[in-house]
């Protein structure tokens, strides 16, 4: 007798195809459409190169800031229980849910002259509107939750007993973190950095409000689209995608040299 296949299994497979096609088709179309000549001309344009570079390094900076302040904080969330922890955790998730232009407007309203903080910042020479500082601020804001959540899950997966043993052997909390927890969480930290970077580099809505100039790649793609149409925006998009892919690949290759350490 022929083996019966449950119709639900067919449905799951069918949906799988739909999802994959839905994601891949537009991307493939966009990558395939510009001619080699278009791509070459685009990358020779200093404005384009500058935009892509700006996108890459502001996102990198956002990831670095997230790493610096997000790592200890993620450790706190993973290891300690305190009153209001659930509330703090939902605050971390807020930037994921708030519409992006609102993020930009919110940051600007704090950094403006009408606010004491904005006033103070301007007095010491920190400007948000239309600056690289502004871009990095916005990108950190939207990328940080992805970093903190990923790394927190990574810390939680490390048995707390390893830290107990380390402490019992004479290592302080700091030394234990540096010698045991951090090396074991390396993989999650790396994935957190990639998630944060990816989220930051794709940000448009918040950046466009805080800094139209200097122009990050997504803003430039939008500008070329509105001013000149699809044909002129596509090659920039392709270059941005390629640069991101190469960077993430390099990061993975250099950060995960040994496979046997899990």
């Amino acid at each position: 007798m022929k083996k019966q296949i449950d119709p639900f299994l067919w449905l799951t497979v069918f949906c799988g195809f739909v999802v994959v096609a839905f994601v891949l088709l537009p991307l493939i179309q966009m990558i395939a459409e510009p001619s080699f000549q278009d791509l070459k001309e685009t990358i020779q344009d200093p404005d384009v190169r500058h935009s892509i570079w700006l996108s890459v390094y502001t996102s990198g900076l956002a990831a670095f800031i997230s790493f610096t302040i997000g790592t200890p904080f993620a450790y706190l969330l993973a290891r300690k229980d305190f009153p209001g922890k659930g509330f703090v955790e939902s605050i971390i998730d807020l930037p994921i849910m708030i519409p992006h232009p609102i993020v930009g407007i919110a940051i600007l309203s704090l950094a403006g002259r009408n606010h004491w903080l904005g006033n103070l910042m301007q007095q010491v020479g920190i400007h948000i509107m239309g600056t690289v500082t502004g871009i990095v601020t916005v990108l950190t804001f939207v990328g940080l939750p992805f970093y903190v959540n990923t790394v927190k899950a990574g810390f939680e997966a490390i048995p707390v007993r390893l830290e107990h043993v380390s402490r019992s052997l004479g290592a302080s909390l700091t030394r234990t973190f540096l010698r045991v927890t951090f090396p074991l969480a390396r993989r999650s930290i790396l994935i957190g950095l990639i998630m944060c970077c990816a989220r930051a580099i794709s940000e448009f809505g918040a950046v466009v409000i805080v800094a139209y100039h200097p122009m990050v790649a997504p803003v430039m793609i939008y500008e070329r689209f509105t001013a000149y149409g699809l044909k002129y925006s596509q090659p920039v998009a392709v270059w941005l995608i390629l640069v991101c892919l190469v960077l993430f690949l390099l990061l993975r290759i250099f950060s995960l040299p040994k496979k046997n350490q899990t």
């Binding site: 107990h164 290592a171 302080s172």
Partner: protein
């Protein structure tokens, strides 16, 4: 010497109640109890991993209650070994030396000595991922002892091991303790381990100590129904006493001597009850007629339940004995309990 005074830990759904415990220098002490009794909590409190609600802990006269774990000088070995997965065997063992290196050469000699004792020299540069359970536990022991702690805490160190490794590590523990003369405090739920390894024991149940004493004394003279059952006395009954007679649910048992006035229970080991199809009689024997209710295969022996009046006695029979006397369920039998085997408390 470890002195625990009025130790109390309140957690959601569990309380360790005002525990008093004193462990001698160089002693091998076991903390026995079923899962959920709070044994590991006591260890972690001594090591400084859980906050105390109240109470003091002193080690060698020094009050360590408020010290962070790294300043207590107390080693810990966990059931699941808790080896650092990113470090080699040797790196695991020498992990703590950074913080205790007053005399580096002496430390190195000590580590070498430990690794020789534990048979770890050939494994020094291996990754811990390729070690057997027994090897991992030996690495964990070496790592804890490398920094010369004043106390070594062992949290069910044999439970996760295959039976064939378990005996090996048990012997290692005994030898190590005799060799290094460090105070060992081990937590286990296995009375046999405690009997083999330790001098004294405390039985913990629901966050409260039921009995403390030399292991053999706890084994022979349990003080509460819980301890009696824990040390394998399967027949524990409340009773009333009249001179040398104990009355249990209407059944009269002859005791070798009149018990003290505060006794309330009778306990009998199942291996001390004789079951026979023939009529039994004899001096100092309590003989009753009963009916076999159930015969359960316990692997190496059979457990036979016999109802006498309102009481169900549990007796132990070897497989060959049972095979010889052929006891089907529902059969009428005689049971005999030597009065010397009746324990009252």
């Amino acid at each position: 010497m470890i002195e625990i005074e009025a130790l109390r830990i309140e957690l959601a759904g569990f309380t360790l109640e005002d525990m008093e415990l004193s462990i001698q220098d160089g002693e091998f002490f076991t903390l026995l109890g079923p899962t959920g009794a709070g044994k590991t909590l006591v260890l972690e409190a001594i090591a400084g991993m859980v906050p105390l609600t109240s109470g003091r802990i002193r080690v060698k006269g020094r009050d360590i209650t408020d010290l962070p774990p790294e300043q207590r000088g107390i080693g810990i070995v966990y059931q699941d070994y808790a080896l650092f997965p990113h470090l080699s065997v040797l790196e695991n063992i020498t992990f703590g030396l950074h913080y205790h290196s007053a005399d580096l050469q002496a430390s190195k000699n000590w580590v070498k000595n430990l690794m020789d004792r534990l048979g770890l020299q050939l494994l020094a540069h291996r990754s811990i991922h390729y070690l057997s359970g027994g090897e991992k536990q030996r690495v964990a022991l070496a790592r804890a002892l490398a920094v010369n702690p004043s106390v070594l805490l062992l949290d069910e160190p044999l439970s996760a091991l295959d039976p064939n490794f378990r005996e090996g590590i048990r012997d290692v523990l005994k030898e190590l303790h005799q060799g290094v003369r460090i105070t060992f405090l081990m937590v286990t739920h296995d009375f046999a381990e405690a009997l083999f390894l330790s001098e004294r024991t405390a039985i913990l149940n629901h966050g409260r100590i039921e009995q403390i004493g030399p292991v053999s004394e706890v084994f022979q003279r349990p003080a509460t129904p819980f301890v009696a059952e824990f040390v394998g006395m399967k027949n524990v009954f409340p009773g009333t006493f009249k001179e040398t007679i104990a009355v249990v649910d209407g059944l009269e048992l002859e005791l070798p001597s009149p018990p003290a006035r505060d006794k309330r229970y009778v306990a009998i080991r199942s291996e001390d009850i004789v079951v026979s199809k023939e009529k039994l009689s004899g001096n100092g024997l309590n003989v009753f007629q009963g009916r076999v209710l159930e015969v359960i295969d316990r692997g190496l022996y059979y457990e036979v339940s016999v109802r006498t009046g309102k009481i169900i006695f549990k007796a132990m029979l070897t497989k060959s004995a049972l095979f010889e006397i052929k006891l089907p369920e529902g059969k009428d039998v005689d049971i005999a309990i030597p009065s010397s085997a009746i324990h009252v408390f």
